[in-house]
């Protein structure tokens, strides 16, 4: 497999019509990717397009359900990451996983240290090779220092050095530049080009088009778990790629109901938290759905958590119906009618070990209590009403939340907050990881709630969802609001651009 004199025309890696599903959820419908040696290949697509699933299949983390997977022309089938590594594949993730208490050299040779006499680790040989690799890559990192305290960029270089010492023929970099500064990106690119010139095949996953065009030779676009197109980078443009990535009639998917839009309910002014978000100002009116778009990591969840009071903010004000909410106080926010359906329903939304009834009534216990006392028949009664309104499918009200399917868990969390009779409903990723049928139900529900006069702020990383549901779209990038579009002006291209483009004038 590591035979470097193999026919250069044989693709280094070839995936065709690869399928992967988790229960009823199809994560990868038909993934195809052909990597040539000595080439850098961009893999792009929206969140949820199936890129990560594809990478995990290549890395040996997942096993494909169907489809062809060839390495140097030979069919392969990985059962573990160790097999994938042994076959010459290295994956470098956005956040490297190194041992902080070990030296750079020790990390590179972790688990396969060269041994000398009597099986002792040959530190000299190890250090020698590490130094050589760094020289070849043209980077200066002290091989003897501890890994702790190194920047993400340096840690990625160490991961790359590890891959080279393993003589990896295929390197996959999953959003490596997300946490890097301009200079660091340049250095990474130089290293990547060096590896390409050595005849290795590289995959570069990124949301930043400028980087894709600067670095890559070929680009493959994915959408909805399927392969869409592959083309030389020189023969395409940003507009073309965005169209391919979004490529569907988004307005038909979610029948948005007409709602009467009233006065401002939630008003956020100049919210700041150093290093997280900056100068966030916006408002949401009653009956209005405001979509908050942007890439993962743009600071959207942090903003809504700060509004609700579970995350801190340094300055700025949050008002609900003209009343200023105190900081760090979810209870006060709830008292003014703010509800937050959090991003991670399993860790933040509900207690998986508690019953559906207890979960649904969690935010309204004080209101349900009679003379300060509460017992299960009161809770069951209230829970049954809300479970029924949201058509939650559960064996019984005392079934533990964790036994429900993903979509039904999300409905439980929605029920929990709708039961609190909110005026402002904030929903963070309302349909992440739920099946298509339930997804449409959740969308109808949100639309219906807006019609009833709720002010709704919806974070979503799925562009069609934002464009289909929102009356107004706010776009965040790197902790700032970089765009605001009315429903009529919110095109996929415009939103994508605001979410990804570097500011030209800084």
């Amino acid at each position: 497999m590591t035979d470097t004199v193999s026919d250069p025309a044989t693709p280094a890696l070839e995936l065709s019509r690869v399928v992967k599903s988790f229960g009823p959820v199809v994560a990868l419908r038909s993934g195809s990717l052909t990597l040539q040696k000595g080439s850098i290949h961009a893999l792009i697509g929206e969140n949820g397009a199936g890129k990560s699933t594809l990478v995990k299949i290549v890395a040996g983390l997942y096993r494909r359900d169907a489809g062809d997977f060839r390495l140097e022309g030979d069919p392969v089938d990985f059962h573990s990451t160790a097999q994938s590594k042994a076959a010459g594949i290295a994956v470098i993730y956005q956040e490297p996983t190194l041992f902080p208490d070990l030296s750079v050299t020790e990390n590179i040779f972790m688990g396969r240290q060269p041994t000398g006499r009597l099986g002792r680790i040959d530190r000299k040989a190890m250090r020698q090779e590490a130094t050589e690799i760094f020289e070849r890559l043209g980077v200066r990192i002290d091989p003897d220092r501890l890994t702790e305290g190194l920047s993400i960029a340096d840690q990625q270089i160490i991961e790359i050095a590890k891959a080279i010492s393993l003589d990896a023929r295929v390197l996959i970099m999953d959003e490596p530049t997300a946490a890097l500064s301009g200079v660091e990106v340049e250095r990474l690119f130089a290293v990547a080009r060096q590896l390409r010139d050595e005849g290795r095949a590289l995959v570069f996953i990124s949301h930043r088009f400028d980087e894709v065009f600067e670095l890559c030779d070929t680009v493959t676009v994915m959408r909805d778990g399927s392969y869409i197109d592959t083309m030389p980078i020189a023969e395409t443009s940003v507009d073309d790629l965005v169209r391919l990535m979004v490529g569907r009639d988004v307005t038909e998917m979610f029948p948005k109901l007409e709602a009467e839009i009233g006065d401002d309910v939630l008003v956020v002014e100049g919210l700041n938290q150093k290093g997280v978000f900056k100068n966030i100002s916006f408002s949401v009116r009653s009956g209005e759905i405001v979509g908050l778009a942007g890439l993962v990591g743009a600071g959207r969840s942090e903003v809504v958590r700060a509004i609700f009071g579970v995350d801190p903010y340094e300055s700025g004000t949050v008002k609900v119906n003209g009343k200023v909410l105190p900081k760090d106080n979810p209870r006060a926010a709830m008292a003014e009618g703010v509800a937050l359906v959090p991003e991670d329903r399993r860790k933040q939304g509900q207690v998986l070990d508690q019953s559906v009834a207890l979960n649904i009534t969690m935010a309204i216990r004080n209101r349900l209590a009679k003379a300060g006392l509460i017992w299960s028949s009161i809770e069951n009664e209230a829970a049954a009403i809300w479970a029924s309104r949201l058509e939650v499918k559960t064996a019984a009200l005392d079934a533990e939340g964790g036994t429900l399917s993903g979509g039904n868990q999300q409905k439980v969390v929605l029920a929990k907050w709708l039961a609190s009779n909110p005026k402002v409903l904030i929903i963070d990723e309302p349909t992440r990881g739920i099946d298509v049928g339930t997804k449409a139900e959740v969308h109808r529900l949100i639309s219906k709630l807006a019609q009833e006069g709720l002010a709704i702020l919806m974070i979503s990383s799925e562009l069609p969802e934002v464009l289909g549901m929102a009356d107004r779209v706010l776009v965040m990038r790197a902790g700032e609001i970089t765009g605001e579009f009315d429903r009529s002006e919110a095109t996929p291209e415009a939103v994508m651009f605001a979410a990804t483009a570097e500011e030209d004038v800084a």
């Binding site: 979810p330 860790k347 509900q350 207890l358 029924s388 109808r444």
Partner: protein, 355 residues
Amino acid sequence: MSTSAALLDKPTREYKAYQHSALRRVLVTRESAIIGLLVLVLVVASIGVDNFASPLTLTFLIREIAPILFIALPMTLIIITEEIDLSVASTLGLASVITGLGVQAGWPLPVAALLAILVGTLAGAINGSLVTFVGLPSLAVTIGTLALFRGIAVGLLGTTAISTFPDFWTDLARANIPATPVPVIIIPFLVLLVVFATLLHFTPFGRSLYTIGLNKEVASFSGINVGMTKFWLFVMSGAVSGLAGVYFTLLYNNSRGDNAIGMELQIIAAVLLGGVSIFGGRGAMHGVIAGVLLIGSLSSALRLAGVTSDIINVIVGTVLILSVVSASFLAWLRTKRIAAVGKKKGQAGSSGDTA
């Protein structure tokens, strides 16, 4: 999927409140197992151990375990929130010393007792502040205050003891409810039991303790003030320990700095035996009471049977370990079963979630 979820209309779907019959829900619990074990020990001891079934044994048993019963109440709440209070016995000792010093200074006993309970409350507030406002783990905090409060207690009184308490009060501490072998201390205990059981099982506050114990993040995201909840639990624990200290002093007519040394472990052992999970989020008051009674009656029966105290410790320790192991074993068995069911479902293509 059906068309438009008629959102705010009348309920369209009926839900079963429970998956299993009432009988099964009551019987197949850890609490029931402990109560069953308690009954078994009582029956076997009554038949097999001379004098165990006598009224005098009951009187002495209740007197002896009363401080444990009292402190087990707040301890249950604390462990359910995934915290612990190791300083309770030291607080009891401190309260005992304060009671003694107050009486020695010529105060009426109720005044000295009230001061002792206040000092206990303050001790609890110190624990609570360090946990809630400084953010330290309660295990570390209360190991520290275990030594600190005990040190103060011993320091205040040295190696001497005060045993000059008014007869009226010491007699009362030993008195039985007229015409029964049951000590009167059972009355204030039952009052507190009702208060704590109601608090735990029938108030929104009690519900939030379980939520905190199972998932603090969900608790915060649901508007539960995790920090202040813990603070008040430690305050309660201190106050009840103070009260137990007053009773302990009067019962034995003895105020000493080293009173009830090591009792915290007996209390925690009984609470865990009663089915409260050391990992938080699980447990019920009736199980805890059964746990305390089980350890108490088992030790008492063995003592009457002439078993030496070190052997009694070995037996009680073994029972505790077996009970904790059996709980973990049952939990493991349950997850295995759920996983097996989940797998079947997955094959049928009706459950699952993307990563």
